[in-house]
């Protein structure tokens, strides 16, 4: 019997890859970034590699090298499609891989996101997740024109937002639809619940218009880079993306998140994020792209260049330091994505560190997470 697979692997998808000149890589399908065919192919490739899930990046403004506002550059990819809709478009064309679009919570409505992710869960038969993202950019606030954003409050608002979304997912008990011909009732309305959330940023009545999704609670994920985000993610997320730069940092960040998690309940999965350039000549490829871009590529996450075997060594070492998985950001797509699915994955499988087949039908299932009961169902004799 094969050793128990112990690593979780995801890829983060963003345009032609994470290097700013990735679109100029020989393999890049630069002219197809806004087509369905491109996204279907890319996600199917990730599924071919048995990856747990893909995340799909998004933003409420164009990509930029500046901290805030457009940079007017013409030599990098600018423009992107709505990540939630990309995930929805891809869902019927895939069967096992988790689909985790980003969605900004700062200028949007929790009611809309709740039903969108629940609906993605329906059309993917239980493979939906969501990467919670905040926006502190004034340029993006100006696209909505509703308010100024206070950066100090963004994660508190995000925490309320996630709480509203989670309550809405639970607002229909699983057996609320009864289709009882004898009494003429389609639903048992006692099993639909007002969430009555009242907070600083929004009040939401509920219940959802969408019945409880197949996973009950689709997977909530978030990237953390600062203390406020750590506290938020430890409480609100099922999977936290972190950016340690070595095994020791991996241990520290994992401990910190575990310490922040609520006393009751299971803590989140902690993933390490890495930008990867793979292959025998990975460094050379990256240098060439740097030259084309006119700058050495830099990222908030560590940048790995090397072979699949070397990457496997690193991932296993960091996993032993406490991380439960990794989200790899391919430097270029499809080159580095294919190197992950056809090089790294077989290497990890040889070492008994990664699955050889999908072992569950839902995204929660891939993490061994059970399907939770609705919080409202637990209240026996509860009222609406």
């Amino acid at each position: 019997m094969a050793p128990r697979p112990n690593l979780h692997l995801a890829v983060a998808l963003d345009g032609a890859g994470w290097h700013s000149a990735a679109w100029r890589d020989e393999s890049a399908r630069a002219a197809e970034l806004f087509t369905a065919g491109y996204w279907v192919d890319v996600v199917r490739e990730a599924e071919h590699g048995l990856l747990d899930f893909v995340t799909i990046e998004d933003s409420l403004g164009p990509q930029s090298t500046l901290v805030d506002g457009p940079d007017d550059r013409t030599d990098q990819v600018r423009g992107r499609l709505d990540a939630g809709l990309i995930a929805s478009r891809v869902a019927p064309r895939t069967t096992h891989i988790g689909l985790v679009p980003s969605a900004v919570v700062t200028h949007t409505e929790p009611f809309h996101i709740s039903k969108a992710v629940a609906s993605l869960d329906y059309i993917s038969a239980g493979r939906a997740g969501w990467q919670v993202q905040v926006s502190d950019r004034r340029s993006e606030a100006a696209h909505f024109g509703r308010r100024e954003v206070d950066p100090a409050e963004l994660f508190d608002e995000a925490a309320d937002y996630v709480e509203v979304v989670r309550r809405l997912w639970d607002s229909w008990e699983d057996d609320a639809e009864i289709r009882d011909v004898a009494t003429g009732r389609f639903i048992d309305r006692e099993k639909l619940h007002y969430i009555d959330f009242a907070g600083k940023w929004f009040d939401v009545k509920g219940p959802s218009i969408t019945p409880r999704p197949p996973q009950g609670q689709p997977l909530v994920t978030a990237l953390v880079t600062e203390a406020a985000a750590h506290r938020f993610a430890a409480r609100a997320a099922d999977v936290v993306f972190t950016i340690p730069h070595d095994a020791e940092q991996a241990r520290i960040v994992t401990d910190r998140i575990r310490a922040d998690q609520p006393a009751s309940g299971r803590g989140p999965q902690v993933f390490g994020d890495l930008v990867v350039f793979l292959g025998e000549r990975a460094a050379e490829r990256k240098d060439r792209l740097d030259e084309l871009d006119g700058a050495v590529y830099a990222s908030d996450a560590p940048v790995f260049t090397g072979t699949a075997s070397e990457l496997a060594d690193l991932l296993i070492a960091w996993a032993e330091a406490g991380l439960s998985g990794f989200r790899l950001r391919p430097g270029t797509i499809p080159h580095d994505l294919t190197a992950i699915t056809r090089g790294l994955v077989p290497e990890l499988q040889r070492r008994g560190a990664f699955r050889t087949a999908y072992e569950a039908g839902t995204l929660r299932g891939l993490f061994g997470l059970h399907r939770p009961a609705s919080r409202y169902a637990a209240t026996v004799g509860g009222h609406l």
Binding site: A30, G61, D75, V77, G79, D82, L85, T210
Partner: protein, 455 residues
Amino acid sequence: MSKQIHLAAHFPGVNNTTVWSDPASLSQIEFSSFTHLARTAERGKFDFLFLAEGLRLREHAGKIYDLDVVGRPDTFTVLAGLAAVTEHLGLAGTINSTFNEPYEVARQFASLDHLSGGRAAWNVVTSWDAFTGENFRRDGFLPEDQRYERAERFLRTAWELFDSWRGDEIVADKESGVFLKDPRAGSFALRDAHFDIAGRFNVPRSPQGRPVIFQAGDSDAGREFAASAADAIFTGHGTLEAGKEFYADVKGRLARHGRSRGELLVFPATTVVLGETDAEAHERAAHIRHQQVSGQTAIRFLEQLWNTDLGGFDPDGPLPEFDPVVGADAITKGRASSRRHRDPITIARRWRELAEAKQLSLRELIIEVTARQSFIGTPETVAETMNRFVQEDASDGFILVPHLTPGGLDEFVDTVVPLLQERGVYRTEYPGATLRENLGLPPLADPHRSTKTAS
């Protein structure tokens, strides 16, 4: 050549017209149901599939309404999923302009248009309903007289965003290193009483440039809005006479907006009941109406007008003799605005007269007054009647509203569509690549003709 008929499908929604008690009624939420209906519509060469929307569950007498189908998915999510399982079918979604912001909605429609290869359509609706507002940050509501104003500004704002990309900016030339030839692509700046926004729209121009625009609603303001801005108008006017009058009215409004009669299509919503003989079809139709309007449903429906508890009344008995309660909070909340009764006392008087004249019980009366236009008969009869409506300018086509999910259009597509095709009034192949082309709408003007505010 005869005028060509356009057909569209409505996914059965949450009103009592959707019969859920039938063994053939499957899930209204599983994606397989949407796929089935969409593929059936595409097999029948329909122009588009249409999804309605409701952003709060209906309530009656302070409780969630439980007699009809409840629960539906997110519109954009389902339409994007359907783009994966269809090739030609237009994907039309109702999206509210009150509980959304133009930048986000424009991104979603432009994305849907890209991801479907040019098949997106937007049914613009409005709400002034504080009841629905309780699910959103922006609580409370616009006075009713401002709702079309906001809708109009919302739509114009979205158009500016769509038009902020000309469509030729993306070069993606690896050799020269030019991805985008215009560094300021997507620039916009808009300021009016409803929106004050500026920046960069981050979705490049989509295959259709912008989604096809639909408008539903029959008020004078709604008709005017449609005549000025929509590509198609949904209507409930189903009889030949009322249809012709409506058709002439809305088409007549186009000229003063500088538009021609071909630029706005009229689509009445209708149901179809088929049978081996006309008599059998009428029997089936009567049976369906009784499934749709149970005794309980009839009472609750009547309570909407009377605005009071009528639980003690017998559905098989007469209407109440007392008048509706006026001025109190509405007993039903969350129903589509068109159901709001503006003058309940007069309507009640009319209903009583109708019930007396035709000797109708309470339930029979509700069946009668809530009936929507139906084409009932053999496939030949139905094909002939539909064609007459179109040739005589009562409509340009129909939105078919099946009473069963998801197989409610199977029979129509298998039997009526071929007859329309034989008559030469209905396509046998999709003529174009995009929804706009399939609807026969003229191409959009140069995007930069209308971009006056971008700096």
